[in-house]
Assembly symmetry: none
Homo-oligomer: 224 residues x 2
């Protein structure tokens, strides 16, 4: 029972996909072009996206790339091309899976299940660990070297985001988009301040959040 965004310009195909997903008990949102898709994505808590490549206005690859800036949801690319180059392009832009037309709706629905299962198992996971830091999402608690530390909401969100996206650099803008929300109008430097307090509370492990001047911040596990 997930919210699925189906971005596909051909009505016939869209309907087939939607029918199948509804039968599986999912809720569907539909978009007829790339602009539509991005708008919906911004304004709705979508769990997974099925994305056609050949669409008017903005093509699927670009949608994929932009979507990745604001969310981590699974993306299945759906297209007529069976080109290897295209497949690799899709993966490079952050897609999770790739299906070529004509496709079996049953297999599509199985893929959706598999991805949702995986996405959920991460978010509901008992603990995320990195070096001496252990974070329990459900309990919203964090331990550093066995000692519990108290974090504010934003600090927690920030640390959680970093821990499930280790070794990836994020610009301040990206962090604002992903943690504060795309519509945060405020100052970019806000991120710095939260990084500061978070580092402070993490103590010796604070250095796991590394600054990349002119690029942003990333979380990396310290090798002892």
């Amino acid at each position: 029972m997930a919210k699925v965004l189906v971005a596909e310009d051909e009505e016939r195909i869209r309907n087939i996909v939607v029918d199948y997903l509804l039968k599986d008990g999912h809720k569907c949102l539909t978009a007829e072009d790339g602009v539509d898709a991005l708008t919906i994505l911004k304004n709705n808590p979508v769990d997974i996206m099925i994305l056609d490549i050949m669409m008017p206005h903005i093509d699927g690859f670009s949608v994929c790339k932009i979507a990745r800036e604001m969310s981590n949801i699974p993306i299945i690319i759906l297209t007529a091309k069976n080109d290897e180059v295209d497949k690799l392009k899709g993966y490079r832009f952050g897609a999770d899976d790739y299906m070529t037309k004509p496709f079996s709706p049953k297999v599509l629905s199985a893929k959706v299940q598999a991805l949702l299962r995986r996405a959920h198992s991460i978010t509901l996971q008992n603990a995320v660990k990195a070096g001496k830091i252990a974070l329990m999402p459900t309990a919203r608690t964090v331990f550093v070297d066995g000692m519990k530390i108290e974090l504010t909401h934003k600090e927690f969100e920030l640390l959680y985001f970093f821990m499930i996206n280790q070794e990836q650099v994020f610009s301040r803008e990206q962090l604002l988009n992903r943690i504060w929300g795309y519509d945060f109008g405020g100052n970019t430097r806000t991120v710095d301040t939260h990084i500061k307090t978070l580092r402070q509370k993490l103590g010796t492990e604070g250095s796991s959040i590394v600054t990349l001047i002119r690029s942003g911040y990333k979380f990396e596990v310290k090798n002892e």
Copy 2:
């Protein structure tokens, strides 16, 4: 850099897969039959499994099912059958993805990346490699001969540009236009300085950046 278990009885195919994964910087464990696969799985911290269906002793579906009881790792099923029923069976047993032989090793490697990203958020995605140099765009890190080196923003940009445009000569003006931006008003010699520091940090691999007098610079892989 994940630990991948490749369970496949045909040696030829196993080798192709392993070769590709090693090239991507992963570590590989191999199993020749289902029993083997389960034993290895029990005794090693495996990050992802590539699983053939038709194997001696215990078939892939059963391995998949049993594996799911003990761990949550991503599983890619690899098989000769392109049967829809089989695909669905794989998904039902908890597989994350499905590939049919003959397959493209590149696409397999992309699928591995995509699943690892989702499962662990290890992003080695799109690592660019040349000789002993490996560059990870998303992590903004560079390894020379397995050792991490620290680059400034401009150095990184420059190296990245060279590595995705190997064997091509660029004049200082071209480099300024492409990396600094067309509106950079400054001195052409600025490029030299950055080339110098970059070469220094690359150590023995510094000579990969070759000077072409009166023409500019190019990046070429050294033949060892």
